[in-house]
Amino acid sequence: MQTLFPIRMVELEVPAQLSVLRQVSAWLKLHATEWRVSETLIAHIDLCLNEVVANCVAHGGPAVTDRPLTLQLSMASSHDQTLVTLSIADSGRAFDPTSVAPKARAVSLSDATPGGLGLVMMRDSASRLAYRHSSSRNHIDILFQFDHARSSSTARLALRDVSAERRLKNLSWVPLFKDAPLLALEAVLQTCELLEVPANMPLLIPGQSNRNVYIALSGTVVAHLGYLAVCMRR
């Protein structure tokens, strides 16, 4: 079964100066490598980190140096997805990168104007950008979401867990499948994956998109809805 990660987070404060760029890149690489983030994804995060820091220092005005930049890197994983978030807060002039329209492409070199490409590159590298302005600070969250490849060890686990497989084959007790033709269900189930989820492992995390239906064959599932926790046992 693939390695699963709990939620992790690190934070760093640095002066709002261009000279810190290599330091913050090294900080990112140190932690992301330790968390087994792929080199490709680290390069994407590093690019966004460089673009945001360079942009706020260059265009943030005198107020940007009033307080240090705050960088936060966090990672959360479910069994099939990982979400890495880079958050950057600065005290410069308010600027919402999510409100900027994509730069129109130049049709010739003569028409090309340097600048405005950092945002294009960030939008291509990240899954999502989010912005808010509070306490006189710009807060930018850059989200990187990726799916895990199905591992062959998961398939072997499914074959070993015969009792669970039997339960999976007879799904008449699941309200969702009430009155559904068994032959159709069997065809769909051929493509399903049987998972053994360790205790306290999140199936879904806030901000994560989901394209799966989970059916609890045994054990307990807890859904946290704000302050309310709903517990379901099978």
Binding site: L47, L109, S110, P114, L117
Partner: protein
Amino acid sequence: MPITFDDADEALRHIRLTGRLDMTGIDAISETFTELSVATHRQVIVDLSGVNFLVSFGIRELITNAKLIQQRGGRMIIFVGDNKAVLKTLETTGVDTLIPTFVNAAQADRAALE
């Protein structure tokens, strides 16, 4: 050196950039890059195959120098080799449509001499 060059002949110059082209890396090569680009050679092939990190300020340098070369009646060509990350960045920003970009060195040379 993160920037080197060689002159194939009086008309064609190869400029090779290597390493990390972040703000620090760009600061280190910017002046030399412009000096080499606007010298007497009309055609300039910029080799980015050894660049392992490229931020938007690096793209800005490429566009600025390509325009300077064009104003002198020459042309910049980019060679990326098998550097997929840099090629992707050039495609994402549309630079590959402004500055002819090649993965094959011989084709880049031919294009420069056309």
